[in-house]
């Protein structure tokens, strides 16, 4: 876990809401004391007694508009929203924690949960309308499609021709070691499940990945746990380039921070699916289905502007013919202990060069 980032985010959320949230924070730490670590928690009491328990990796400030919209449509339902990291979410559900809906950006971990029998089947008109690639076995449902992008600080690229492929990027970085030394950031694969997923999928799809990793290692690349932190550092000019940043977060910041730009590459782009499942332990399956349907229909571009990139936007954001990372048993391959070890070994070797 990236503790510094977590603490910072908690401060940001809690400062204006200290009073009313103190109670729920206490409750959250009570649950968290069980066996998983909670980053943030907020409850939205409804008019009825029912409380829908949602565990999610999405930041509350991004996700709250959706929760409020859902609650205004279903005022009797209370929502207990618990934000955790994807690894903690996986651990919590696997450990049998009781939640009605689990939303995660780590599609591989979510798939492992469904494969190992920790999810229950759900089917509705909305889930049937999903494209096949966005649904697995009526248990796992994708509600966003988010590409991995490269974010650059435009000032630090002044006078250079912007690369259009990974090979160009490798050449550019190699040719200007003094300009980019210490100025390149990417995910720490050991700390970030999402970074690991992007890296493994990219290594599988293009041989440029290892060359790029070697170049980044030579430039003393800085490793991060989270996209938002990388974007912060690119915006401040500390980094010239952040590799494999979650596109949705980057786009949200483009207008706010001068000099921040997305570098479009033509050769390949990973598209990650944010997925939802109803855990086997869920107690309010009906309410969970309601929220899942709302989430999916927003994801399919029905209703108000979704809080996260909808499934359809995938084509525009990533001019990629590769499509999103496929939901399927192949996702379990890089979760395998031996595979993970050997991949990380190779990555370490490339980075430390």
């Amino acid at each position: 876990m990236c503790v510094a980032d977590l603490a910072r985010r908690m401060r940001r959320f809690f400062a204006p809401l200290l009073g009313p949230l103190l109670a729920s924070l206490l409750a959250a730490s009570a649950v968290g004391a069980q066996d998983f670590e909670i980053e943030d928690r907020r409850t939205y009491p409804g008019t009825g007694a029912d409380m829908l328990r949602v565990i999610s990796t999405a930041d509350l400030d991004v996700f709250e508009p959706f929760l409020l919209r859902f609650q205004s449509a279903n005022p009797d339902l209370g929502i207990d929203y618990v934000a955790v990291s994807s690894a903690e979410l996986h651990r919590a559900i696997r450990g049998g924690a009781v939640f009605d809906l689990a939303l995660s950006s780590a599609m591989d971990l979510q798939f492992a949960l469904a494969n190992d029998g920790f999810a229950q089947s759900y089917s509705s008109a909305v889930t049937q309308a999903l494209p096949d690639w966005a649904r697995w076995n009526d248990q796992l449902f994708a509600f966003t499609a988010e590409p991995a992008v490269i974010v650059i600080n435009a000032e630090r690229f002044e006078g250079l021709a912007l690369p259009r492929t990974r090979a160009d990027l490798v050449t550019l970085l190699r040719d200007h070691p003094d300009r980019f030394a210490g100025g390149v950031g990417t995910y720490d694969l050991r700390a970030s499940g999402l970074g690991y997923l992007f890296a493994t999928q990219e290594a599988r799809s293009t041989d440029a990945y290892w060359r790029l990793t070697e170049v980044m290692g030579r430039l003393d690349a800085r490793l991060y746990c989270c996209s938002s932190q990388m974007i912060d550092d690119v915006a401040s000019g500390e980094l010239a380039l952040a590799y494999n940043v979650l596109g949705s977060y980057a786009e949200g910041r483009l207008g706010l921070d001068e000099g921040l730009a997305i570098l479009p590459l033509e050769d390949f782009a990973n598209v990650m699916l944010r997925t939802a499942l109803i855990p086997a332990t869920a107690e309010r399956v009906g309410a969970a289905g309601l929220m899942l349907d709302a989430l999916l229909s927003e994801g399919m571009g029905n209703g108000p502007a979704p809080v996260l990139p909808p499934l359809q936007a995938r084509g525009e954001v990533a001019a990629s013919t590769f499509g999103p990372i496929r939901l399927g048993p192949a996702l379990m391959v890089y979760l395998d202990r031996l595979n993970r070890e050997s991949f990380l070994e190779a990555w370490d070797a490339a980075m430390e060069q």
Binding site: G117, G328, P329
Partner: protein, 458 residues
């Protein structure tokens, strides 16, 4: 009734039901076979993919510095996801030591070089599992490594169930079609039989002509048997008619001789009591002779009615002829025959109609008191030609028309009159054979009987 329900069912129904049952069994069998083939094929497909996947995993096994290493190939798992959305479990173990995967997954016992399959329960579901073994050299020793791969069977079952459903629909359609065809075929095959039955049913009661229709060979024995039966029946009928005619004829001739001898004796005896006796003899002989004539007539009517000739008859002429023929008999009793003719025509056998009319007129003369009038009138109207015979005799009394036309039945006003009771029967039979009828009423103008011979007008 000797048979059960099934023997009372029609052949068409029995055949159709039998064929339908057969088709149903065939449809069920073919559906069952397609279903099991589909299950088998889908299962085999899954087995093949599992085996290919497990093999490609086993291929990556290697020994490195005394440790057994492997890298799960991405393709091994992505091919498992290609067929269906089934859950996948795997385990790689050296003996009991689990290298990676689901430690609690127990596959079929593996042997070297051969993939072994089993369907077994794992966790809360049923999975299809494959195990295969590969020998790896570690530190100079051969170590068997087992790769076990399992997948749930939802996809296979969905495919098999889909094919089974399609097979069921097809079988159902084939069944309906085959039953329809069977019903049609049965009906078509039995049509000659029905036609023959209809043909026989619409025949007249005494039509014993052989069947001339050609039918399917299976029916020909029946047709021949029927024809032989009718031939025998016809022959036996003819023989009995011939016998009666012959008998009547033979009786009549000696009777004439007896009558002539009795007449001579009557003239030669003096004693009144003897004359009285002889007169009774003559009366009895007359009666017998008349009966014999009528029996002959009756036999003739039966014979001719079987094979009715139909010619156009001029009724006034016919009636005139019969009246002239009987006028001498009438004159012996001083009875006058009056004619009242209107033009009328009918179709039929002239001899028979004459015979019928003669019997009726003979009756009228016989039962009329002396010095009376018998009126013959011919009428035409309402599609019917009518010959009415009215007398001034005692009438029919209380007896009904049906009783009076019975054979050998006589009315109750006949005391002292010679008669056999066959006259009206003969007339009735003739008219029926022509599609007409005999009407018996009492005379509207005072006493007497009125007999109407009614024929369809031509």
């Amino acid at each position: 009734m000797s048979g059960g329900v099934s023997e009372r069912w029609s052949i068409a129904r029995r055949l159709t039901l039998f064929l339908a049952a057969m088709v149903a069994i065939l449809a069920l069998v073919s559906w069952y076979m397609v279903t099991s083939f589909a299950r088998e094929a889908a299962g085999r497909t899954q087995d093949n993919i599992l085996a290919a996947s497990a093999t490609s995993i086993a291929e990556t096994l290697r020994s490195e510095g005394g440790e057994i290493r492997l890298e799960l190939p991405y393709s091994a798992f992505s091919m498992l996801g290609a067929l269906s959305e089934d859950r996948v479990f795997y385990r790689v173990a050296v003996g009991d030591e689990v290298l990676t995967g689901y430690g609690d997954l127990e596959g079929p016992e593996a042997t070297s070089g051969e993939a072994r399959f089993a369907t077994l329960p794992y966790r809360d579901v049923t999975v299809r599992a494959v195990s295969l073994q590969r020998i790896i050299q570690r530190d100079g020793a051969a170590v068997p490594v087992t790769v076990t791969l399992a997948q749930t069977r939802d996809g296979v079952q969905t495919i098999a169930a889909g094919l089974s459903r399609q097979a069921a629909v097809l079988s159902g359609m084939v069944f309906v079609l085959a039953v329809g065809i069977a019903a049609f075929a049965v009906r078509a095959s039995l049509r000659p039989l029905n036609t023959m039955a209809q043909h026989l049913a619409t025949r007249g009661p005494s039509d014993l002509r052989p069947l001339r229709r050609q039918g399917p060979p299976e029916l020909m024995p029946l047709v021949r048997a029927l024809n032989r039966l009718m031939e025998r029946l016809g022959g036996s009928l003819r023989r009995s008619e011939d016998f009666i005619a012959e008998a009547a004829h033979r009786v009549r001739t000696p009777l004439a001789v007896v009558r002539a001898q009795a007449e001579i004796a009557l003239h030669s005896v003096e004693e009144e009591s003897q004359k009285q006796t002889l007169r009774r003899v003559i009366r009895a002989v007359d009666e017998s002779s008349r009966s014999a004539s009528q029996l002959l007539d009756h036999a003739m009517v039966s014979f001719r009615a079987d094979d009715l000739t139909r010619e156009r008859l001029d009724l006034p002429a016919l009636v005139g002829d019969v009246a002239e023929a009987l006028r001498p008999t009438a004159q012996m009793k001083d009875i006058d025959i009056a004619l009242d003719m209107a033009p009328a025509h009918a179709e039929g056998d002239e001899i028979l109609i004459q015979n019928a009319l003669r019997n009726v007129l003979d009756n009228a003369i016989k039962y009329s008191p002396a010095e009376t009038v018998v009126t013959l009138s011919v009428r035409n109207g309402g599609g019917e030609a009518q010959v009415m015979v009215r007398d001034q005799g005692p009438g029919f009394g209380q007896a009904s028309a049906t009783q009076l036309t019975e054979r050998f039945r006589r009315g109750d006003q006949v005391e002292g009159v010679v008669g056999s009771g066959l006259g009206l029967t003969i007339a009735d039979e003739v008219l029926r054979a022509h599609g007409g009828r005999l009407d018996l009423t009492s005379n509207e103008e005072g006493a007497g009987a009125c007999v109407s011979l009614i024929l369809p007008a031509a």
